[in-house]
Amino acid sequence: MSIWEYANPKRFMQSSAWALPWMIGLTVLCLVVGLVWGFFFTPDDYKQGSTVKIIYLHVPSAMMAINAWVMMLVASLIWIVRRHHVSALAAKAAAPVGLTFTLIALATGALWQAIEDPDTAADLTAILCLVGSVFALLSRYAVNFWNQGLHQGATLSLDKEENISDVFWLPLLICIAGFVLLFVTLVLMRTRTEIRARRLQALLARERVA
């Protein structure tokens, strides 16, 4: 079976109707387990103190803010090349979700870093807002650019020395899974709404003509 069969709105509505309740359940489970574990049952970091608990919000939301742009880019390219309506509607549905994750990443990032040096944190947030809005993918590499300054090194790394400590790793992984599922669930739900809205417009237009 080809993936392009899901570009058919009717097929997409059938498949997503089946998947959506499972996605909602998994999303809630991952977010509750990950966040409760991270907030209540992990120790303070020797350097950052209790602010390390912000990692369970900041890292997953920053990852999904960037991935939302990538998903919208791919969906938009599919629309431009193959003219599949579902991909265009999915890109539209993802925009508010990506925006919300971006706001969470910026807000938690500012709150996290403002403690040590508020002016530098404000500078970084402003630069991230300006650069990130135009070159969203560049923000992925901000941790490397500012590694020696305000922002810590990469949280997730294949380098064992650089990678986050094991005690924070598992709850963070669950939180990331929760945010990914939240993104997919919301985009699925909002795409279904966009398809219905498109059909509604078509029926209303037909009524006006008749």
């Binding site: 602010t51 919000l57 919300t100 706001l103 739900m189 219905r196 059909r199 509604l200 029926l203």
Partner: protein, 53 residues
């Protein structure tokens, strides 16, 4: 019950509060839009004698 967050309690609790607020607003908006469009579509389809696909 609440862990001792020390002098960083505002930053940590503020982060969690802001995140919950934004996610609840987004989820609420998504459900509200879904219900509104679904209802409107059902009305028009019933009027035109069609069924949703």
């Amino acid at each position: 019950m609440l862990p001792d967050l020390g002098k960083y309690s505002f930053a940590v609790l503020g982060s969690y509060a802001a995140t919950v607020l934004l996610i609840v607003a987004l989820v609420g908006l998504s459900f509200w839009q879904r219900a509104r469009v679904k209802r409107a579509l059902a009305e028009v389809e019933a009027r035109q004698g069609k069924t949703d696909g």
